[in-house]
């Protein structure tokens, strides 16, 4: 036997831990340090079996102090950070105290509050896991609490406990169905309501809207997700995800000119590839697309002549996904002449060594020949793609070209574009991402911040803007540049990311427009179904359905049904009730009572035969069943002058 009171203590821990775990990674240093200590204290006191009064008072005081501390900090911080810190601390303090049924309710409420609080910061898969845990643990705890309240000091056998808890699973199972139902239909906004609690986050991502080759720290955070793109599988070396175009050198940096309006252009040729983007950073305004993007859908955007798209101001990306139509391998042809002077503008200070190099590379054969010699220079120069030991400072490009000969894409692209402009070839940088891990389980590319990339576009009179990736000239580009940008995920990683992606798609991004889409889909599905409703097409599904229903009914009857003996008994009772009227409906009347009351000899025979088998715990044989059935038939149609038994008073 197990005492329910003891089990409630275990439940208190099990319920509190998911709440604490959901918040712990987001806590300040103080609560992060305090909570483990409080848990150790709680465990110690639980083992001792009592909480000293002084400890309780001390903890209450501590809670008030911490509350005041975080209350004061609210004006200087976003609301969510103090709230989650307070929630976690109060939960840990509560865990130290007594664990009576009443306090268990408090713990459950606090743990749910903590989990809800964690959504102020992030709603990822962890949240779902903790939610599932609480979904199972909370009803189980409430069931046990109910048992303890109904009968204080109650002990349950293992079997009873198992059955109670198993039955308790009906609650989360039912809740889950209702949860998904309400999730789908409850009205929601097209903008996250809680966003006002958090300050605008800093745009600290790998993709940068400027390129500054001499500043190594401008590089990306490794491995952080940039976006996912639903798309067919494409050749790995063609995965250039175009972001923005940096067309103006400013000192050592390349930026996008605010004053210059690129000439309109059209995207011609190439293979059409439809994609759906799910960006991770919702605050950046640049919209990405496979090079060359032609059209953005499901988002109001501003398309520029250089095939860059930016989200309109005021257009929320809470929608969190958008469609892109691209033409892979297409040409970007300006529809009128480009501003050559603008695209030949040089940085204010160029190293004399670079100018001398450009002069050396200049050929009389025109831009194509110049490009050839520029390419040869990089190809034969033994340049290496590297993220370490990068030259810094104002003369970084010259040091890269002539001394270290190692750098990342910004060095390659920056120096190439500068040299191209010195050779009077219009050039600009394009920022975006290169590569992607294709998840064939979900049919999408996973693009992380360390895949951020810069390449060059040069303008040729008859070809328009042509993409050129100077980083590919590096001697180790195969391994360092392309090798790390795809095909590296194991099956488990793909599976996990697929789940995360599905979570994001199905839960996080389920907004008002998704609801409208769901409604449309359902209504069009119903219309289609109605259109196809003709008797012939329905015959086979109807027959199949009937067969399944019959099978289910038979299985149900065999598995859970009354069994042949019980069925015979029921028929017997029904027959005699029909004869005797309401007086025979009393379920406490036995078979013999009914037989006596009816006065039918066959009824008495039935009762004897049945009782002889059943009350001795023997299953009815086929012969006995047949005999009983025959007796029932005779009871239904009594023979003239049939024998009768004496009626009971």
């Amino acid at each position: 036997m197990m005492r329910v009171e003891r089990l409630l203590r275990v439940c208190a821990w099990l319920v509190a831990l998911p709440g604490l775990a959901s918040l712990y990674p987001h806590l300040d240093l103080l609560p992060k340090a305090l909570i483990p200590l409080l848990l150790v204290l709680a465990f110690h006191l639980d083992r001792k079996g009592e909480v000293p009064r002084r400890t309780g008072a001390l903890l209450a005081g501590l809670t008030v102090l911490l509350f005041a501390f975080y209350l004061v900090r609210i004006p200087s911080q976003s609301l969510s950070i103090p709230v989650v810190n307070m929630a976690a601390l109060v939960l840990a303090v509560r865990l130290v105290g007594e664990k009576t049924p009443r306090q268990l309710i408090q713990l459950i409420a606090l743990s749910l509050f903590a989990l809800a609080g964690s959504t102020l910061i992030s709603i990822d898969m962890d949240f779902f896991l903790y939610l599932l845990m609480l979904l199972v643990l909370v009803p189980a705890s409430l069931l046990l609490r109910c048992a303890e309240t109904s009968c204080p000091g109650l002990s349950l056998s293992r079997l009873q406990l198992r059955r109670l808890l198993r039955y308790g699973l009906v609650l989360p199972a039912g809740s889950m169905v209702l949860m998904f139902f309400f999730f789908a239909i409850l009205p929601r906004t097209s903008r996250p309501l809680w966003d006002f609690l958090n300050p605008e986050a800093q745009a600290t991502v790998g993709f940068s809207e400027t390129v500054e080759p001499g500043r190594s720290e401008s590089l990306v955070t490794r491995g952080r997700l940039a976006f996912r793109v639903e798309s067919p599988s494409l050749p790995q070396d063609q995965l250039y995800w175009r972001g923005n175009v940096l067309n103006e050198p400013q000192g050592g940096r390349w930026v996008r000119s605010a004053g210059h309006r690129p000439a309109p252009s059209r995207v011609a040729g190439g293979r059409i590839v439809e994609q759906t983007f799910y960006p991770e950073d919702r605050r950046g305004r640049v919209l990405f697309g496979l090079d060359l993007p032609q059209e953005m859908r499901q988002v109001r955007s501003d398309a520029q002549g250089d095939a860059t798209f930016t989200r309109n101001r005021g257009q929320s990306l809470s929608r969190l996904y958008y469609g892109v139509r691209s033409r892979m391998g297409a040409q970007l042809m300006p529809t009128r002449g480009i501003d050559r002077d603008f695209y030949l503008r040089l940085p204010e200070e160029i190293s004399p060594r670079i100018r001398a190099l450009a002069a050396r590379l200049d050929t009389p054969g025109g831009p194509r020949a110049d490009l050839e010699s520029l390419g040869d220079f990089f190809r034969k120069g033994g340049y290496r793609y590297s993220m370490e030991s990068l030259p810094t400072g104002e003369d970084a490009l010259a040091r890269f070209l002539f001394e270290t000969r190692a750098g990342h894409c910004e060095f390659f692209a920056g120096s190439f574009a500068t040299l191209a402009r010195l050779l009077r070839i219009p050039a600009r940088l394009v920022g975006g991402y290169l590569g992607g891990e294709y998840n064939d389980l979900g049919g999408y590319y996973l693009v992380t911040e360390d895949m951020a990339h810069v390449w060059v576009e040069i303008h040729l009179e008859d070809e328009g803007w042509v993409r050129l990736d100077p980083s590919r000239f590096a001697v180790n580009s195969g391994a360092e540049l392309l090798g790390s940008r795809g095909g590296n995920l194991s099956l488990w990683q793909r599976l996990w990311d697929g789940l995360d992606y599905a979570w994001g798609r199905a839960i996080i991004r389920f907004d008002l427009s998704s609801q409208v889409e769901l409604l449309r889909f359902t209504s069009s599905g119903l219309k289609r179904l109605r259109g196809h409703l003709d008797p012939e097409s329905l015959l086979y599904p109807a027959l199949g359905g009937a067969a399944i229903a019959t099978g289910a009914f038979l299985f149900w009857n065999l598995r859970f049904g009354p069994g042949p003996a019980r069925r015979l008994e029921r028929r017997y009772r029904r027959l005699l009730q029909k004869r005797l009227g309401d007086a025979a409906r009393d379920p406490s009347l036995g078979l013999f009572d009914l037989a006596r009351q009816s006065g039918i000899a066959e009824a008495m025979d039935f009762a004897r035969l049945y009782a002889d088998a059943i009350y001795r715990d023997r299953p009815l044989s086929r012969k006995q069943r047949r005999k009983l059935a025959a007796l029932l038939r005779r009871i239904r149609r009594p023979r003239e002058g049939g024998a009768a038994v004496g009626k009971s008073p």
């Binding site: 409430l142 069931l143 609490r145 109904s150 009968c151 109650l154 059955r163 609650l171 859970f560 406490s588």
Partner: protein
Amino acid sequence: MGLTGLLGKNNLEGLRLHLEAPAELYDDQPGLARLHIRNAKRLFPVFLVELDIEGNRAFIPYVPARTAIDIPFDLQLAGRGRVELTGLSLRSRFPVDFFIRNRRLPFSEQLLLLPAPRPFDPGRMREESADRGEHPRSLPRRSAEGEMMSVGDYSGSEPRKHIHWKASARMDALKVKQFAPGSAAPVMIDPALMPGGDLETRLGQAAWLVNLYGKKGLPMELKLASGERLGAEAGSGRLRLLANLALYDAR
């Protein structure tokens, strides 16, 4: 919330209860009854049900589906005579104590409540009756045939073999064994002659005597209010006399 409501409602459905009263249940005294509980539901067990019959409570932690169980049930009722129990209510907080659901079940059990036995000193009653010059008919006359009934003072006339030596040694005075009358002479118990003030007290005293003599295996006779005499052989019939005491009416 809705789901807990449905489960709670379903939990109290399909219960059939039958009370098996104790053979002797005295007025306002606890007796151990048995409660047969049958869960007629096909799939759903019954959990955590509190049961109340006229203020007598029991707790049923679990009854599996399509199963009957027996539990002991402490029953204490006040009154005398035939009592019909109709008030059976079930109460359950299941599943999560958000709601407490109550249900009254159709229930009808007839019980016979016996008068609560009230002990008294028969020796004193005999003396009082003797003082009044009456013959104490409700008390067994002493004899030398039956079982030893009590110990009395030695008056000098009793045979020496009746001296209770052990008691005499302890009390420092000669004591003699006093015997109940033999099987041939039943003890007459007349509730009207009991020393109690009111009828209920007298019936209680009579019940006490019935139990006392019944346990000793003495034959008894009960004089009913109608004057009819009801006999009980030695070692049997005690319950019949008690039942008649329960239904005794002085009017």
